[in-house]
């Protein structure tokens, strides 16, 4: 097959998003298609896997193989797919509730397992689809119907977890900067192993004050740290609305138990001989 020149529009499906006007996720969708075009990915050899939530609707809007599965379970589906089909480029995506709450255990173990998957987490610090409940990243004093006086809970620092659990590429980006985001997504796809990109993606309906992120975010001020310890310093003590690549590791990606672990069927059958 001759290589086609592809444009971002080639990666958009005909389905119209269900998102609210002004939702940050439009920027993310646009950035994904730009990144795919930049890498000239073949749509048939690319798979985007998601769970449930506003952000998790993205696969249907992309011209590639997609899987819109269960709330919290995008990463196990992506892991099974990538291990069984290492020839595919596999991305997983979802929101902060999907990935850090109901899918928290899978998030931690996906970082540790380091399969060559790129994860995009659209963080808006709220549950949008169920209309405004607190998420693991919601600020402790933010009032909701469930907790009118706030949760009084410390927000989860998911990037710190990603770093200590072994993610091989960690970045924080902003949906309001689709070009910069596209660059980071392309970089993450090209980086071997498990990549985590946390995307500040405003929920204009339930967190209208996040519209101001476009003035507050310090764009592309972070650079890859020299060690996990330094990277941890950045995500624990640095400004939380600063973006850029935080960590690029060199752990080899996990591809399965390896041929040496195999035993041929004939030998296994001999084991049954009485």
């Amino acid at each position: 097959m001759t290589e086609q020149i592809r444009k971002p529009a080639d990666y958009k499906s005909a389905i119209k998003p269900i998102w609210c006007p002004g939702c940050g996720d439009y920027g993310v969708l646009s950035a994904i298609t730009k990144a795919f075009a930049k890498l000239r990915l073949e749509p048939e050899n690319t798979a985007v896997v998601s769970g449930i939530g506003c952000a998790a609707r993205i696969p249907a809007y992309i011209n590639a193989y997609g899987f819109h599965g269960l709330h919290g379970r995008a990463l196990p589906i992506a892991t099974g797919l990538k291990l069984a089909r290492p020839d595919l480029t596999v991305l997983a995506m979802g929101g902060d509730g999907d990935m850090y709450s109901i899918g928290g255990n899978h998030f931690m173990h996906a970082c540790r397992r380091n399969v060559d998957i790129t994860l995009l987490v659209m963080d808006n610090r709220i549950y949008g689809m169920t209309k405004g409940q607190p998420s693991p990243t919601t600020e402790p004093d933010f009032p909701t119907h469930l907790y009118p006086d706030g949760t009084h809970l410390q927000p989860l620092n998911a990037l710190a977890i990603a770093l200590v659990a072994g993610a091989n590429f960690v970045a924080r980006t902003f949906s309001g900067d689709p070009n910069g985001l596209a660059e980071d997504i392309a970089m993450a796809i090209n980086h071997p192993g498990f990549s985590v990109i946390e995307i500040l993606s405003p929920c204009v309906t339930f967190r209208p004050e996040q519209r101001d992120w476009k003035h507050q975010v310090q764009r592309n001020v972070l650079t890859p740290a020299a060690s996990v310890a330094e990277a941890l310093q950045v995500v624990t003590t640095g400004p939380e609305l600063a973006t850029g690549v935080i960590w690029k590791g060199d752990r080899p990606p996990y591809e399965g138990p390896g041929e040496k672990a195999g035993i041929a069927l004939d030998r296994l059958l001999e084991g049954f001989a009485a």
Binding site: E44, N63, G72, I77, R85, P257, L268, F272, A273, A274
Partner: protein, 576 residues
């Protein structure tokens, strides 16, 4: 104290942790197979992970056996510490002998009351010369009393300990010979097996978990993901190197939610995929199974049932996951439920589950249980089934949009695997239209529900849906490992002049209504047998089938399996 030979001998070897009673049982089973006998071995253990008390429960016979007999002829108790933990599973037969140490202390009341003879041996003294272990002494004594050739025992020891070095083989063999000689002095207590039929062809020793793994492998499973759980773990341990050897892999997932979703992902990519678990794991997988039903992704789940609910009795058997396997999913999610009928059948039924799941693009649950899963059985080397994973796929798509969920005649829609140009679609757990686009329309929901239902309901499953034998107005129906007791009891009933029709269901869902009702034609009394407290199988039969007017049920919960004697009594009562 039979001086005549027996066609079936049962014995138990019990002891506290480290006594090696399981190894003694394995040696005896291997020696019996070598000599041409059939047999089986199960273990009964307490809740300890390692150590603690254990009993090796054995049956050797001149004919193939699938269940324990009702009572034991020999009990070899190294000591009596915590014996009460499994005394409920060890009833002594009339004339049974008990062999124990000279200073092992007082016999438990139940044993003392039922034992015909108690032989107290100076176990420590007998071990002085060889410095061996008491389990090999037990193997020698029991081997002699049951009439196994000494050479077959020596051969079994050499094979069992081959990887552990010559020194151990020599000490163990010498200790076994000490026991064998000691047995010689006890021949007035012998429980001798009749000479075996000449052995034709190769024999295997295999348990149901290994057999299920083998069935999965021969059907072409390439990807497995699972979380360790008793009593299913042996499936994973056998499958892991086997899958790697076959160009696939097994992944230990972080939990059962990950297991089921990983195999859904792998299967979406085209790899026939499977997981194995037990009740608690199956409960966690229920949501994923619903996704597989909705998105029409083939996956197979092996459930090795254990005592429930909750953590229940992880090391013991029960047939109580039937309800959740049949009806445990939310919404209406048609899926396949199959049940293996014996250790050997675990190979075929697992392969069939994988085959059907792939053919029909639906999740399949294959029910096994702790008893058959962990029972080591001597059987003729089986022919491997010719049931393969064959999925209908599309090679390429044209200009028109690919309809992943097209409403075809069979209800099965050809699947595009990632990598196929032009067919890109998004698999979805949301209700969707034919082109996989999410839809809340009345018409789409009705059409897709119907499609998913009829692709299973209208498929021709052939003759393997049940094993049927015998004739007459009395029929016995069961499923799973209880089939072993039913088979044995029906044979004895026939010998006693009671005609019995036996039906063992292998395909539980979709229910084969017309076929079962035809099989029940002319039946006046139906006896339903199962290993559950509440009678789940009886409820299932009553819900889906028109049954004969006179229905009897017999069921009790685990950890005691339904025995052939219980079945025979129930048959006699139903026939009278």
């Amino acid at each position: 104290m039979s001086q005549t030979s027996l066609n079936s001998v049962s014995f138990a070897i019990s002891g506290s942790g480290g006594a090696g009673v399981m190894t003694a049982g394995e040696i005896l089973l291997m020696a019996a197979a070598k000599a041409g006998y059939y047999g089986l071995q199960t273990r009964s253990v307490g809740p300890q992970i390692r150590g603690g008390e254990a009993a090796s429960l054995m049956r050797l016979a001149t004919f193939p056996v699938h269940v324990h007999a009702d009572a034991f002829h020999i009990l070899f108790a190294v000591d009596w510490l915590n014996f009460d933990r499994f005394s409920g599973e060890i009833d002594l037969a009339e004339g049974a002998i008990v062999i124990t140490g000279k200073d092992s202390g007082e016999l438990p009341e139940k044993v003392a009351q039922t034992a015909s003879d108690v032989i107290r041996l100076p176990l420590h003294d007998l071990l002085k010369e060889t410095k061996g272990r008491v389990n090999m002494l037990a193997a020698g004594i029991i081997g002699r009393l049951t009439g196994l050739p000494e050479d077959a025992l020596a051969d079994a020891i050499a094979r069992r300990f081959a990887s552990k070095g010559n020194a151990l083989v020599e000490i163990s063999t010498a200790t076994m010979r000490t026991g064998y000689a000691q047995g010689e002095k006890l021949l007035n207590h012998e429980q001798r097996l009749a000479p075996p039929e000449p052995r034709n062809g190769e024999r295997w020793i295999i348990n149901g978990n290994e057999a299920a793994g083998l069935g999965a492998l021969t059907a072409g499973v390439k990807f497995a993901a699972a979380y360790p759980i008793t009593p299913a773990t042996e499936i994973l341990e056998w499958l892991s190197p086997a899958l790697t050897g076959a160009g696939g892999m097994l992944i230990q997932a972080e939990d059962e939610l990950a297991s089921i979703n990983m195999i859904i992902g792998a299967s979406f990519g085209g790899a026939p995929a499977l997981t194995a678990t037990s009740g608690p794991g199956l409960a966690l997988m229920a949501e994923g199974l619903g996704l597989a039903a909705a998105a029409e992704i083939p996956v197979t789940v092996i459930d090795v049932q254990r005592g429930g609910p909750s953590t229940g009795i992880p090391t013991k058997s029960e047939q109580t996951d039937l309800d959740i396997a049949l009806c445990g999913m939310h919404g209406e999610a048609p899926h396949l439920v199959l049940a293996a009928t014996s250790v050997a059948d675990c190979i075929r039924t697992t392969a069939w589950a994988v085959h059907l799941s792939e053919r029909l693009q639906a999740p399949a649950i294959m029910l096994s249980d702790q008893m058959m899963g962990q029972m080591k059985t001597i059987m003729p080397r089986p022919d491997l089934p010719d049931l393969k994973a064959e999925r209908e796929t599309v090679a390429s798509c044209g200009e028109e949009d690919y309809a992943r969920y097209a409403l075809t005649n069979s209800g099965v829609s050809p699947m595009a695997l990632p990598g196929t140009p032009g067919c890109m679609y998004t698999a979805d757990g949301l209700e969707h239209d034919e082109r996989a686009i999410p839809s809340t329309r009345v018409e789409d929901h009705a059409a897709q529900l119907k499609k998913r239902w009829r692709k299973l309901a209208d498929f021709d499953y052939g003759n393997a849906w049940a094993d049927i034998s015998g004739e007459g107005p009395l029929a016995v129906i069961t499923w799973g490992s209880t089939a072993g007791a039913v088979e044995e009891a029906s044979r004895e009933a026939e010998e006693a002049g009671i005609r019995v029709r036996t039906i063992v269901l292998r395909l539980l869902s979709p229910p084969q209504k017309a076929k079962l009702e035809a099989a029940l034609e002319g039946v006046e009394t139906l006896l339903i047998l199962e290993n559950s407290f509440s009678g789940q199988f009886a409820r299932y039969l009553r819900s889906f089938f028109t049954l004969p007017e006179n229905v009897r049920t017999f069921h009790h919960p685990g950890p005691r399996p339904v025995t052939a004697r219980e079945v025979l009594e129930a048959i006699r009562e139903a026939a009278s």
